[in-house]
C-alpha cells in the first residue's frame, strides 16, 4: 500500500526538526572554529552537522529530506572537501616548504576574525568538515534508499501502524 507520507510524526516534532536544522549547522560551525583553542575540529563539526540531516530523515522521511540542497549534493560536497584539504596540504610543496606548512608562519602577522586567526589550517579543517559531512549524509541517504527500495519509508512507526490496520 502507498502510505500517505508524514502522517506518523506529530506536527510538533516535524516543526521542531525543521527548526533545528539551521541551529545544528551553526553549532557545527562553532565547534569547527573553537577547535583552534579548545576541543573541536572539522571532523566532529562534520559529524554534528550530519546529525542534523539525519534528524530530517528520521522525522520527515526520505522524500522531504532529499529536497534539501545539501542532501542532493552530498557526494559533490565530500569530493570538494577532500580536494580542498589535499590542496592545502600540497600547495606548500610548490613553494618549497614541507607538506602541510601553514601560512602565515608562526610569529607572523595574522588577520583576526573575532578570536579566530585566519590561517590556512582553517581551510584544511573546512575541507575535512565538508568531507565528513558529505560522506555521512551520503551514507545516511544510501541507507534510506535501501530501506525504501523494499517499501517507501515514511518515517518511523509506519510499520507498526500497518500491522495494526
Amino acid at each position: 500500500m502507498s502510505a500517505p507520507i508524514n502522517n506518523t510524526t506529530s506536527i510538533l516534532t516535524q516543526t521542531v526538526a525543521k527548526l533545528l536544522l539551521l541551529p545544528t549547522f551553526v553549532a557545527a560551525f562553532a565547534i569547527l572554529v573553537k577547535g583552534y583553542a579548545q576541543p573541536g575540529d572539522g571532523f566532529s563539526a562534520g559529524v554534528v552537522a550530519s546529525l542534523g540531516v539525519l534528524l530530517q530523515y528520521l522525522v520527515l522521511g526520505r522524500r522531504e529530506a532529499e529536497r534539501l540542497v545539501t542532501v542532493r549534493n552530498a557526494p559533490t560536497i565530500a569530493g570538494a572537501g577532500l580536494l580542498l584539504s589535499l590542496s592545502v596540504a600540497v600547495v606548500p610543496l610548490f613553494l618549497g616548504d614541507p607538506v602541510l606548512t601553514h601560512y602565515p608562519r608562526p610569529g607572523e602577522d595574522v588577520v583576526y576574525l573575532g578570536t579566530l586567526e585566519l590561517i590556512t589550517p582553517v581551510l584544511f579543517d573546512l575541507g575535512i568538515f565538508f568531507l565528513v559531512f558529505g560522506f555521512a549524509v551520503g551514507a545516511i541517504g544510501a541507507f534510506a534508499r535501501t530501506i525504501s527500495e523494499q517499501e517507501e519509508y515514511a518515517g518511523p512507526g509506519t510499520e507498526q501502524l500497518e500491522d495494526d490496520t
Partner: protein, 465 residues
C-alpha cells in the same frame, strides 16, 4: 629532495580525488589512473635508491620541530615494501583496464588504496600509520565486492567485518603504546619502551601481533581468508594477496622487530610455533583442495608461516629472510592470481612460473626466498632446532611442489581446458608473461633483492640500540 617522501602517496591521493567523480569505466580515465600509479611507483623506486645510498629520509609535516609535528620517514624497509606493493597494484590494475573496467569507482578506489599503502609504508608516526592503513583497508573492502556478484559481496562482507575487528584491536594497541610512552613517534616509542616493564608491554604487543596476524591470515586467524580470496575477482585477489597482505608482514616487522624488540624476543617461541603450524596447515589444506584460487588461498596461509619463522629466529639473517620472503611472496601471488584466469598461448607458462616459484624451484625468485629461509634455520642455534626447521621447510617446499603441480595440471593440462580454448586478450597475456619474466629475472639476478633484505635487517637491528 625530501619532497620525494610525499610524492608516492600524494600523487595517488590527489589523482584519486580528481578521478572519483568521473566515470571510471571509460578507458581514458583508467589509463590516466594507471599513469598516476606508474608515477607513484617511479617516485618510490627513486626514493628507494636514495635511501639505500644515503640512509633514511625524514620530513616533519608543517616544518614543525621534531617531536611536535607528524614525521614522514622513508627507510629501506618501508620503501622496499612500498615499491613491491605499488608494483603489484599497478600490474593488477592495468590487467583489469585491459579486460575492461565494469564499475565507475574502480580506478579511484585503486588509487585510494595505493595512496594508503604508500602512506603507511613511508611514515614514522604510529597514528599516521593507522590512518593510512584505514584508507587502504576501506578501499579494499569495497574493491573485494567489485563486479558485485553474490560471492563477491559475501567475500567483501566477511573481509570488512573481520578486518574491522583487527583494526579495533590495533587501535587499542596504539592507545596502549601511547599510554606507556607518551608518544606516537615510532623512534621515540622504540627509545622509551626499553624503560617500561616487560609485563606491561606484553599485553599490548600481543594485541598488535594478533591484529597484524589477522591481516595476513596466520594460522589461527586465517578463517576468513579462503572465502575472500576465492570469492573476489582475479585482479582484486592479486591486489589483496600481493599488496594489502604486505601491511601485515610489514607491520609485524616494524612493530615487532623495530618498536617492540623485547616483546618479540620474549614471544619468539610462540611466534615460531604459530609459523610452523601455519606452514604445515596451509600446505596440507592446499594439497587437498581442487579449485585454483582455493589452493592459492591456503598456500598463502602456509607462505605467511615462513615469514613468521624467519621473524621468530630474528637476527640479521632472520630479518633479512623475512623481508626477502615477503617481497618474493607478493610477486608470486600476484602472478599466480592474474595468470590463473587467463587462457591461450603462453598463459600456462606464466602460471607455471608463478606456481613453481611458490614451490621454490630455481631459477624462479621463490628459490631465493627458500635459500634465505634455509640460512635462517641454520642460524637458529641448537642442533635440534636447526634440524627440525630445515626438515620442516624442506617438507613444506615438497608439499608446495605437489600442490603447484596439481593446480597447473588441473588448470592448464586437463581436457576441459584443452576443449575450451577461447584465448584471453593478448595484452593481458603479455602483461602476465612480463611479470613472469620479471620473477625469473629477479631469481637469476637476486643481488638487489638480497641487498634490500640485509639493509632492512641492519636497520631493524640498529633500532635495538
Amino acid at each position: 629532495m625530501t619532497t620525494l617522501v610525499i610524492l608516492p602517496a600524494g600523487i595517488a591521493w590527489l589523482l584519486a580525488a580528481v578521478i572519483a567523480p568521473l566515470d571510471g569505466r571509460r578507458p581514458l580515465w583508467g589509463w590516466l589512473a594507471a599513469t598516476g600509479l606508474g608515477a607513484s611507483l617511479l617516485a618510490v623506486v627513486l626514493l628507494l635508491v636514495r635511501v639505500l645510498r644515503e640512509g633514511p629520509v625524514e620530513v616533519v609535516a608543517g616544518g614543525w620541530p621534531e617531536g611536535v609535528g607528524i614525521t614522514l620517514r622513508a627507510d629501506v624497509l618501508g620503501a622496499s615494501f612500498a615499491a613491491v606493493s605499488l608494483a603489484v597494484v599497478l600490474v593488477a590494475f592495468v590487467h583489469e583496464v585491459l579486460l575492461g573496467v565494469r564499475s565507475r569507482t574502480f580506478p579511484a578506489l585503486v588509487l585510494f588504496l595505493a595512496a594508503g599503502l604508500s602512506g603507511l609504508f613511508l611514515t614514522g608516526d604510529i597514528f599516521n600509520f593507522y590512518v593510512f592503513f584505514e584508507i587502504s583497508m576501506t578501499a579494499s573492502y569495497i574493491l573485494t565486492g567489485y563486479r558485485e556478484e553474490n560471492s563477491q559481496v559475501r567475500a567483501a562482507f566477511i573481509f570488512a567485518v573481520v578486518n574491522l575487528v583487527g583494526s579495533v584491536m590495533f587501535l587499542s594497541g596504539i592507545a596502549g603504546l601511547y599510554h606507556l610512552t607518551g608518544s606516537l613517534d615510532m623512534e621515540v616509542v622504540a627509545g622509551r619502551i626499553g624503560q617500561v616493564e616487560l609485563s606491561s608491554i606484553i599485553p599490548i604487543a600481543t594485541v598488535i601481533f594478533v591484529a597484524f596476524s589477522l591481516k595476513i591470515g596466520l594460522f589461527p586467524f586465517h578463517f576468513w581468508l579462503p572465502a575472500v580470496y576465492v570469492g573476489s575477482h582475479a585482479p582484486v585477489a592479486a591486489i589483496l594477496s600481493g599488496a594489502v597482505a604486505n601491511i601485515g608482514s610489514y607491520g609485524l616487522l616494524r612493530f615487532g622487530a623495530d618498536v617492540l624488540p623485547d616483546a618479540l624476543s620474549f614471544g619468539a617461541p610462540v611466534v615460531l610455533v604459530l609459523g610452523v603450524v601455519s606452514i604445515v596447515y596451509g600446505a596440507m589444506q592446499a594439497v587437498s583442495r581442487h579449485d585454483t584460487s582455493e589452493v592459492m588461498a591456503y598456500s598463502t596461509i602456509g607462505q605467511v608461516g615462513y615469514i613468521l619463522v624467519a621473524l621468530a629466529v630474528g637476527g640479521p639473517v632472520g630479518y633479512a629472510a623475512a623481508v626477502v620472503y615477503s617481497i618474493v611472496n607478493s610477486l608470486n601471488k600476484a602472478l599466480v592470481f592474474l595468470a590463473a584466469q587467463l587462457r591461450g598461448p603462453l598463459a600456462g607458462a606464466a602460471f607455471a612460473v608463478g606456481a613453481f616459484s611458490i614451490a621454490g624451484v630455481p631459477p624462479a625468485v621463490g628459490f631465493v626466498g627458500k635459500i634465505a629461509l634455509f640460512k635462517t634455520s641454520i642460524e637458529a642455534g641448537g642442533l635440534l632446532e636447526t634440524t627440525a626447521l630445515v626438515v620442516l621447510i624442506f617438507a613444506g617446499s615438497a608439499l608446495s611442489f605437489v600442490y603447484a603441480f596439481q593446480v597447473y595440471q588441473r588448470a592448464f593440462l586437463a581436457r576441459e581446458y584443452r576443449n575450451n580454448k577461447r584465448p584471453s586478450p593478448r595484452a593481458t597475456r603479455v602483461l602476465a608473461i612480463s611479470l613472469a619474466a620479471f620473477v625469473l629475472a629477479v631469481g637469476l639476478w637476486p643481488e638487489p633483492l638480497l641487498v634490500l633484505g640485509t639493509e632492512s635487517a641492519a636497520l631493524l637491528l640498529e633500532g635495538l640500540r
